[in-house]
């Protein structure tokens, strides 16, 4: 049985998001499920660089300096992204094939919340890709890709 502490730790990424179609409940998803697919759609190059974006999201969404408002926006964005997918293709985002998911992204990029949602996700993805190896999510391949020499000294421990 999952204990209370583990449940709270897992909290945000495993929380249930209800997806509506009109006034009716259509389906449910979790931030974890949608973000894994969405963030790969937004920047598949992360995988080629060996970055563990999923692990980074677990770190950053528990960070004391990431505000509740930021987390709420991520959660709302996931709900609205899926509802846009339902509206366009009668399916949740995660269950759509890749080309249809791109169409959903194009559609939300035309509205303000959608642009902000994509921007925030890209920012987290880039934080993961170009983070110091001390965080355990990237090993410097991103730095190499951009011929980047990091500043010294590098951190001895992660700031969590």
């Amino acid at each position: 049985m999952i204990n209370r502490r583990k449940f709270l730790k897992a909290g945000f990424l495993s929380s249930v998001i209800f997806i509506s179609s009109g006034c009716e409940l259509f389906s449910v998803t979790t931030p974890k499920e949608t973000l894994a697919i969405l963030q790969n759609d937004l920047f598949p190059h992360s995988k080629k660089m060996g970055t563990d974006v999923k692990k980074y999201m677990q770190i950053v969404l528990k960070h004391s300096k990431v505000s509740d408002a930021d987390k709420k926006f991520i959660k709302n964005g996931i709900k609205w992204l899926n509802e846009e997918a339902v509206l366009l293709f009668d399916s949740t985002y995660v269950k759509l094939p890749s080309d249809k998911r791109q169409e959903v992204l194009k559609s939300i990029s035309k509205v303000k919340w959608g642009r902000s949602f994509i921007y925030d996700n890209l920012t987290y993805i880039m934080e993961a890709n170009f983070s110091d190896p001390i965080y355990g999510v990237a090993d410097g391949q991103g730095w190499k890709w951009l011929d980047f020499n990091t500043g010294l000294p590098q951190p001895k421990k992660a700031y969590l």
Binding site: L42, K65, V66, R115, E127, W143, L146, T150, L152, Y159
Partner: protein, 551 residues
């Protein structure tokens, strides 16, 4: 125990006093709200320092209320937490001087007498300083030696008078692109010079020299080369430093402060008694503490019998701009020069520190040039939009990031000109909102005088001319009334008239015999340069005065 001196705040305004007085044998205690980090604690971790703001308080715990006042007088209220609008700088021993870039310029003699030289400006409270440049000069020189300023003095038409002919430390190593810059200035007949920096180029003053690690501004220095108040002064004296001590109140009788009260990290209250109190908590917070310390003798707030505390808050006006140098316009040698990292791009322009336009004489300012900050994540994030301003992702984004970051580099500039003091720009305290300690938060009432924009625009145009002459593409700039939170001054201006100033010429409050304010609060006008050198110099000046008083 009664200390000789109790200093509230350990940044550039407080530390010279701690250094001078404790080295003279006096018993000094420094109360600092932030933690005590040392060289070994610092790294170039972009996530920690620049993305998660390791060295500033969490806005949900400590915030400001910001009232933005437009030209019509309409006020828009912002909750700093709700809008992620932070006015904190470096909450740590040594304060924001740990994180400064260390661009060090002195004020010019005319900056001390702006009203007399350039006249009054409608809607602004411009005043001459009660001291002259000549009185401050020995202390500017002292900062060069004690804190450590490096540079290469070259004559130009607005070079201020100096008691020494050269900086004590040679200039830092420079990127080769400075040669392109110098050539462009020569063509345009502009006088530029190597920016003096509070960074040691070699081991000196029992500190290590610069390691040219490619990151400087916004990051604390791991070698000790940067002349932070901590590395240069506090670690070189035996003043007692109490970190994580948030001073929430000063108590007084009708003529003297007798105690400072602070909360430790467990929110346990402590009391410190001293003969002399020096307040240097940064301009906004110093005014806030005085306003929050009202008592029966000073019902409007401490040292505020004339209701001047918090008034005439100023920032550095101006803005910033940039141009991009692209491989496609450069030969192989130039491409290599452009991409050299670690070396500094230290160039400044004071060609228009004063200028004439349409027959009118204007006070101008300074423009500093530097490469775009090396922070990788923020540089990558700038590529999220295409040329039409649409957000992009996937392979298109990947290709744009790679091309931009590996085949081009941006040269930036920052414009510094006077933010005119006005009745509409001031610090007050919110009646209801409280911070994590239960203390009323500061309110920053913001207003930028239109004159500031006019001057900033003029200076930016000159910088644009240089970038054009150098062959840069995508040149852009923004001059605005947006206040830089790290360049804040005023609120407790010094002056000879107790009706219109909080402090006398010695930075002692008119109301209380043993209370000094030595952060940037004292400045009636800010000059057109970053403030730190002047804050340091003034604090060394006041240290001499306090030393005499205690002796």
């Amino acid at each position: 125990m009664i200390y000789d001196v109790c200093i509230i705040g350990s940044g550039a305004g407080g530390s010279p006093i701690a250094y001078e007085l404790s080295n003279a044998g006096f018993n000094v205690v420094v109360l600092e709200k932030g933690k005590y980090y040392k060289e070994e604690d610092f790294s170039k971790d972009e996530l920690a320092v620049s993305r998660r703001d390791k060295f500033i308080p969490d806005l949900k715990d400590e915030k400001h209320i910001i009232n933005e006042i437009d030209e019509k007088g309409d006020i828009t209220r912002f909750d700093g937490h709700e809008y992620s609008w932070s006015f904190w700088n470096g909450s740590m021993v040594g304060g924001s001087s740990n994180l400064m870039s260390g661009y060090f310029h002195r004020l010019k003699p005319n900056d001390f007498k702006l009203k007399s030289v350039y006249g009054e400006i409608e809607g602004a409270n411009v005043e001459d300083w009660p001291i002259s440049y000549e009185e401050m000069e020995p202390f500017y020189e002292k900062v060069e030696r004690v804190v450590g300023v490096s540079g290469n003095l070259t004559k130009h038409k607005f070079l201020e008078p100096r008691s020494t002919s050269q900086f004590p430390y040679v200039k830092l190593e420079e990127n080769h692109v400075t040669k392109w810059f110098d050539k462009a200035c020569e063509e345009l007949n502009y006088e530029s010079f190597a920016t003096p920096r509070a960074v040691l180029p070699m081991d000196a003053l029992k500190r290590n020299g610069c390691s040219y690690s490619n990151f400087c501004g916004s990051y604390a220095c791991a070698t000790g080369a940067k002349g932070s108040a901590r590395a240069a002064l506090l670690q070189k004296c035996n003043a007692k430093i109490i970190p994580e001590a948030f001073v929430y109140k000063l108590s007084s009788d009708d003529s003297k402060v007798n105690s400072a009260y602070y909360y430790d990290s467990d929110k346990k209250s402590h009391t410190v008694k001293a003969k002399i109190f020096v307040l240097a908590a940064q301009a906004i917070e110093s005014s806030r503490l005085l306003l929050n310390s009202s008592n029966k003798h000073f019902p409007n707030g401490l040292a505020n019998s004339n209701k001047q505390v918090g008034k005439n808050l100023i920032f550095s006006a101006g803005g910033s701009g940039e141009g991009r140098f692209d491989f496609k316009n450069l030969d192989k040698k130039q491409q290599n020069e452009l991409m050299q990292t670690g070396l500094f791009f230290n160039r400044s322009l004071q060609n228009d520190y004063e200028f004439e336009k349409d027959g009118k004489r204007y006070k101008g300012g300074t423009t500093d040039f530097l490469f775009e900050h090396q922070n990788l994540i923020s540089r990558v994030a700038r590529e999220f939009y295409d040329d039409n301003g649409d957000i992009i992702w996937g392979d298109a984004l990947r290709d744009k990031i790679h091309k931009s970051l590996t085949t081009s580099r941006r040269l930036s500039f920052e414009v510094f000109n006077d933010w005119l003091p006005t009745d509409k720009c001031f610090v007050s305290v919110d009646d209801k909102e409280r911070d994590k300690y239960g203390v009323n938060v500061g309110v920053i009432n913001l207003y930028g005088h239109p004159h500031d924009l006019e001057v900033g625009e003029h200076l930016a145009q000159k910088a644009v001319n240089i970038l054009k002459e150098m062959g840069a593409d995508d040149i852009d700039y923004s001059i605005s009334s947006s206040p830089p939170p790290n360049l804040v001054a005023g609120g407790c201006r010094f002056g000879d008239d107790p009706k219109t100033s909080v402090l006398d010429k010695n930075c002692k409050t008119h109301d209380l015999d043993n209370l000094y304010v030595t952060d940037a609060s004292f400045m009636p006008t800010g000059g057109s340069v970053p403030y730190t050198w002047t804050i340091y110099a003034n604090s060394f000046r006041v240290a001499e005065i306090i030393k005499k008083e205690l002796s």
